[in-house]
Amino acid sequence: MLTDEKQPVLRIRNLNIWYDDKQLLRDLSFEVQQKQVTAFIGPANSGKSTLVRCINRLNDFTPNFRSTGEILFKGIHLHEATDPTSLRKQIGMVFRKPTLFRCSIYENVAYGARISGVNQSEHLDTIVETNLQKTGLWAEVENILEETPEQLATGQQQRLCIARALAVEPEVLIFDEPCGELDPIETVKIETLVRDLAGDYTLIFATNKRRQAARVSDVAGFLYSGELVEFGATERLFTNPQDDRTEQYVTGRLG
């Protein structure tokens, strides 16, 4: 089935989220368009991580998590479309803290292919090289592919995580504060990379740095006290916010 260019990749309708009996997010509705960067901003604990983890069903593992409402991925309800395992192959995720596996740099990137049953070494070689090149890491690690990733700098590790996620060939890639642990120089590299990737992937980007969201995203949403206060084109949201709270937040007077 070919997807209509105009159809949103993700359509979220009336999403409510609880942890135990405490409601964290109320009545969220928004759409994520293809090949755009959609950012979510908001102060700490505003539920950014919780929200983006709904999209790849990572909250399934949280026993006290509960939600109502609809998340449609390419028009089909998330829980009806596929099983979570193949859903997560289509919707990848990069976390705040780079977590690499205890195997070589090569095997980390080849992981997604391996668990899908790819074993031919030429095929794996290609996958590893292409994806390391996409993240600008190839030149840096070309000669140490068989060594463990521990020796890499945090920024390199994070780009390795991105390469590993890209190697699964997802359509959507979620970034949950990918620069939270990085220094400014490394942060710039990741931000540039995110912009580059936007041409080929649909990206979702959670951050609590408002300027970063302004730099990387096409569309942004502002989460505050359990609500999606405002959602729209980044340009407009930052220069001409419709809600007072958004204005206070983007100008640094709130949160």
Binding site: L58, P63, D83, T85, F95, K97, T99, R102, I115, A165
Partner: protein, 271 residues
């Protein structure tokens, strides 16, 4: 494709469920058997020598210990990886595990000895195998109730400790590693085989050593008691005492060596 992978996962889940049930089922059969046998009132046993007691009991400790460790590991995997923390069955088992691991091994030893002594009166020790009427003549090793009592005690000692240490080992595989794998589309089974087992393996092994050490400590007491009891007719007082001490010492050394192995693995792993 999609339904296939879910079905495969369900099958693996089913295999795990059923193996643990089968193992429990098998454990039940000899217990039922034993209940039937307790009716025999007058049993004669052939007097064993110290070496055969030692070997026989070591055999029981090792085989039962290994079985209980395997059982404990399967049980811990099931509790920790499949059941949610809120599941009542899991909570029930975990609370019992906490109680059973808290009991010092010497108390189990005393329990085992008292079972033995309560039966020792009904046992007539003979040197040879005569053809007596109305009596059942068995070699020492074949006394079902004593044997099962011992087996049960070893299982009660070893299994909870294994469950606890294995669960701790599994918890040492941190959430970020699991989530990173899940986020790349790994199934629960793949996360288990590729990350959880390799990372936790050495700690699970260490836990097994510690559980075995407990069984050895009790076996030391038990074997000492057997030797003391059975050597009455054949050996002199000082010989009996030496044998008692010797057996207890050998097993205690085994026991503390295992504990040392456990400690060194744990310290080197957490550092």
């Amino acid at each position: 494709m999609n339904s296939m992978s879910t079905r495969a996962e369900r099958r693996q889940e089913f295999v795990l469920h059923s193996t643990s049930f089968i193992i429990f089922g098998i454990a039940i059969i000899p217990i039922l058997n034993a209940l039937k046998k307790t009716e025999a009132t007058h049993i004669q046993v052939v007097s064993p020598n110290a070496l055969s007691i030692l070997l026989n009991d070591l055999y029981i400790v090792l085989s039962v210990g290994l079985l209980a460790i395997l059982l404990g590991i399967v049980c811990a995997f099931y509790l920790e990886e499949w059941l949610p923390k809120t599941n009542w069955g899991r909570r029930w088992i975990e609370s019992h595990v906490a109680i059973l691991t808290g009991i010092p091994s010497v108390l189990y030893g005393i329990l085992a000895i008292s079972i033995f002594l309560s039966y020792a009166g009904t046992l007539k020790v003979i040197d040879d195998v005569p053809s007596a009427q109305n009596t059942e003549v068995i070699p020492f090793q074949r006394h079902t109730t004593l044997f099962l009592g011992e087996v049960l005690i070893f299982i009660l000692m070893v299994m909870p400790v294994t469950i606890k240490t294995t669960q701790e080992a599994l918890r040492s595989v941190v959430t970020p590693v699991r989530e990173a794998a899940y986020a790349l589309g790994a199934s629960q089974w793949q996360v288990l085989m590729r990350h959880v087992v390799p990372i936790a393996f050495i700690r699970i092994l260490a836990g097994g050593c510690r559980a075995m050490a407990r069984a050895f400590a009790t076996a030391a007491l038990l074997i000492g008691t057997y030797i003391w009891h059975y050597t009455t007719e054949t050996d002199g007082m000082s010989n009996r005492f030496l044998l008692f001490l010797g057996a207890a010492l050998v097993l205690s050394v085994c026991s503390s060596t295992l504990v040392e192995i456990y400690n060194s693995i744990y310290n080197s792993n957490s550092a």
